[in-house]
Amino acid sequence: MTAVVAQSRGGDVATRRQFGAIGALARVEGRRLILHPAYLGVGGYLVIAGTADVTQGISQITRHGVSEILNILFAIFVPLIALFPASLVASSARRAGAEETLAALPVSQRGRSAALLLACLVPATIASAAVAVGWWLDSTAASTGDHPATLYGTPLLYLGVGALAVAAARWLPWPGVALALVVGLWSWVGVVVQQDNAFAVLTAPYLVLSDTAKNVSIIGFSDAWHTAYLAGLVALACVAALYRDDLRRMVAAGVPVGTVTLICAVAQLP
């Protein structure tokens, strides 16, 4: 028995098709992320709680007040919650038993990871927009104004937790990993911020603002280097997420990124 073998479908087209597929998948995954029940649940809760606060006179609608709420929500609380949808979407195929089907497709798991990392830009953009609105409201109010680092630090927080969630889904395929990560991050930050050690405080994975830092050990640290350090952590998480099945490439990409991140970690110190 024989079959007619069709002409091969071109070599350089492959790269463009793969990138095109990853872009299309990123759009779908981005929609899955922001429509995830974790976000919708939190969003619903916040609307109800905020309305209740205002109607009961607990909160007042002022420019500064709204700005503070937006900052607290989108730069502190929601980034931690963002880890859950990213983790659940990243692990959904494995939990559903669909990995076998996906393994035979042209776009590999690395491509799917890349798409999901790109998809994390969607919640990052929405949150950044919210924080930007808050920053603008505060800057037009008669107040001291928020530190601009919040503006460029917020997307890093979302991309960071997203990348961490994807990496965890690839490396630690067990239930409850997302919760353990959130508890771990929360505990890590909670413990080190009280330390009298600038390196420990500044290397924790959170955004330290120079105008609000109360820890005397870090007075005078560099905002720019701190932001670069956080960007390095995000890049490391991306490398871990992308190269789960290719140790050689992970080392090749991880060593230079890790080195730069370490340099940033030291350079940010007062």
Binding site: M1, R17, A21, L25, A96, E100, T101, L102, V107
Partner: protein, 288 residues
Amino acid sequence: MTTIPTIQAHGIVRSFGRQRALAGASLVAGCGVTGLLGPNGAGKTTLLRALATVLAPDSGDLRLLGRDPGDPKQRLEIRRRLGYLPQDAGYQRGFTPFDFVDYIAILKEFTDRRARHDEVRRVIALVGLDEVRNKRIRTLSGGMRRRVGLAQAMLGNPDLLVLDEPTVGLDPEQRLRFRDLISEAGQGRTVILSTHLTDDVAAICGQVVVITEGRTLFSGSPAELVGLAVGHVWADAQRGTGAVVAWRAEDGRYRNIGEAPHGADLVAPSLEDAYLFLVGTPATESAA
């Protein structure tokens, strides 16, 4: 244009720890439907996973669509022309048939949204799921879920379709519908399906491959397989002493398969008889 078999697998070996799932299995298949028969644990699924490029063999020579799946670039080219329905296909929670097939279509590099949606609608209609395409998959029956799996495998009219037990758990009507779909899919492309059901093989397969203990025991047409059992199936009031397999039929007589005694009341073998004769006989030397 070159004419070569779509699947050329020779001496495929694959182990999981100490367990050897494939011990030199061979399979050559071209255009049409090829049935893969074998008992539980024979290595059918492992072989199909290798054919679907999901699993790399430890050793052996494997070429699919004239390409080497061991080479990443060639593997990508194979995957672009491959459809695969695994034995236990799962579906993401909350997905509808349309969502799932669309998701797979993206991963099959259908990047143009409109063209992709047209293709998704085409394959969903092909498997008869048009009316439930926007219902959650988890609310569908087992047969409908299998059809969702078949729909994703059919995306883009693949040249090679690998189906692992596609009719398992289906009621007779759904099985017939599946047979029809698979038979139609076998026109102009290579379809390989593993099954326990010899009825399915007899109904739609132009070629049958029997594997047991990780080795290929037989490869040929269903008629050739049946031919192996001619003179080895007989009816008797008692269980035959030379029978490898025997069971009591509805007429109260035993249908015996094995070395028929002299003067036995021989009956025409079915494909199932031939399969049982083959796998039930130790050290069979009937491999083609």
